[in-house]
């Protein structure tokens, strides 16, 4: 049986290169196509150029944070792509971010398999 994430386009956004690398590797292992961005602004530009299925983004980043990215994506199309936020420490509380349209909010430090499981759930819920 094919994995739910196979051939899906996943955008990994974090200013920490190591973290992007770890997540990219996980998704690529499952057959996803992975794009990377180091800031919210860069990530949004990439969603304009490519059809993205899932965004996994850090919240605090220089040059446009994850919350800004979420707001812009929601303003353009509330349906897709789904946005999963991963926060190390945020002034926003989780419930707020979900209300704003985030599919889920995960906390750092995270287990990569946990991120995969949420991404799978998100893709399945879209049908």
């Amino acid at each position: 049986m094919e994995h739910a994430l196979k051939d899906k386009v996943v955008l990994v956004v974090d200013d920490e290169e190591d973290l992007r690398e770890i997540l990219a590797e996980e998704f690529m292992d499952l057959g996803s196509k992975v794009i990377q961005a180091s800031s919210g602004t860069e990530a949004y530009a990439k969603t304009e150029a490519t059809n993205v299925d899932v965004i996994v983004s850090d919240v605090r980043m220089p040059g446009g944070d994850g919350v800004e990215l979420l707001k812009k994506i929601q303003a353009r199309n509330p349906q897709e792509p789904v946005v999963i936020l991963v926060t190390g420490f945020s002034d926003f509380d989780t419930q707020n971010l979900v209300t704003m349209g985030a599919y889920a909010v995960l906390s750092k430090p995270f287990d990569p398999s946990e991120v995969i499981a949420v991404a799978v759930k998100a893709i399945m819920s879209k049908g």
Binding site: D15, E16, D18, L19, I22, L23, E25, E26, R60, M61, P62, G63, D65, V86, G88, F89, S90, D91, S107, K108, P109, F110, D111, P112, S113
Partner: protein, 479 residues
Amino acid sequence: MKATMKWHYLYFALAGLDIFAVVASLALSHRMSSEYANVVHVNRDWSFKKKEVDHLAKLAQAVNAPGNDVFDSKNVPKERENSMLALQEYEAALDQVKKSLIFSNNSQMTTEFASLIGNVDNRMKEMIDETNLIFKFFEKKREDLAGSRMATMDRKYGLLLDSIGSIRNKVKEVQESAFIEQQTRGEKLKELEYFVAGFILLMVLGVTLYGRKMSRFVADSLEKERIHAAEIEAHRATLIDSAKMSSLGMMAGGIAHELNNPLSIILGRANQAARKLSEGRMEAKDAVEVFSKIEAVCKRMSKIIHGLRTFSRNADQDPMAQTSLKQIVEETLELCQERIRNQGIEMRVGTIPDYLLTCRATQLSQVLLNLVNNAHDAIQGFSVKWIALDFQLDHEFFSLRVTDCGHGIPVSVAEKLMVPFFTTKEVGKGTGLGLSISKGIMETHGGTLSLDQHSPNTCFVMKIPASLVARDENVKKVA
């Protein structure tokens, strides 16, 4: 306040008592000396009067003498003339005695003296009458009759002397009674003297007690002042601590993020490596690479934690110790790196010189962090944001300059910058203590913290004496 008022009244009461005691003793001494002068004067006066009366008695004898002498000389005209002359002299002396003794018409004493003098007058007339009778008998050549009157004349003379003696006795009596009266007054003054002495004793006692109370009061005040100073010192230490905690609080989010990121990396790398190794998809050299990455991340975390630990402890009592400038700057920047980077602020730090500073490293770190945090807050609105650190050593001072892209600080604000509780930040964002405490810290290092008004950008300068700076020889050797 109430106690002060009581003391205030007691002070005036004592001053009043002192003035009274001094005035009373002066008045008493004046009374005593004038009393003494009076005694001397009265005594001399009455002694003189007594002499006048004695003199009168002698003159009376001179008046009586011609009445006897005529029996020998038989020369009546000559003896009559002698008698007349002696009488004139006697009259003059009597007038003087009258003037001396009859000086007030009202006094009882004067009346008595007047009556005694009247007696003397009568006795003298009676004696003169007898003398004149003797002279007449001699003129009529009746010596026998003259001889028979001689005894009568001498009797009259005896009576005259008796009456003069009465005056003398009266004078003596008056003199004695004056003396007794003065003695009584002296006794009264003596009582007054005891009274004044009592007051002086009371004054000395009061002053002694007051002085004792005052010295206790002063000692109490000094003790209170000492306690107050200790409280202020303790309060200052608490303020430094709270300002430090406030800057830590501002950075807490950044620090949490800064620690959670490497933790995620460790967790992710470890997970992946474990999985790949168990599936036989990882070679040893790849595993070693993963582990060295994990190690590097661990070192990064340990640096942050070390910085936090150093920063948060109380360094007030720390001895001055040689610390590498590089270590101070790097550890401090590590603490605020996340905040700086997050705001898109470029941190311009050139090569940090290999200096060893003799200092309380934690405190210098606190000042530097405070300046960088202030710069961070001040340049929020700029599109291109930067903060620069520069290092400079001349023969007098080592300077660490913290410059940001802002355009300086208005003079009106600059004047108040170092004043405690002055802040331009929004309510809740700044305590207004950071700069004043930082200034205090630099001053305890013998240095200064100032705003460089000549810089085109906002620039704060931390200075410590050049004598506290040494080259790090170890680094040189390694290089």
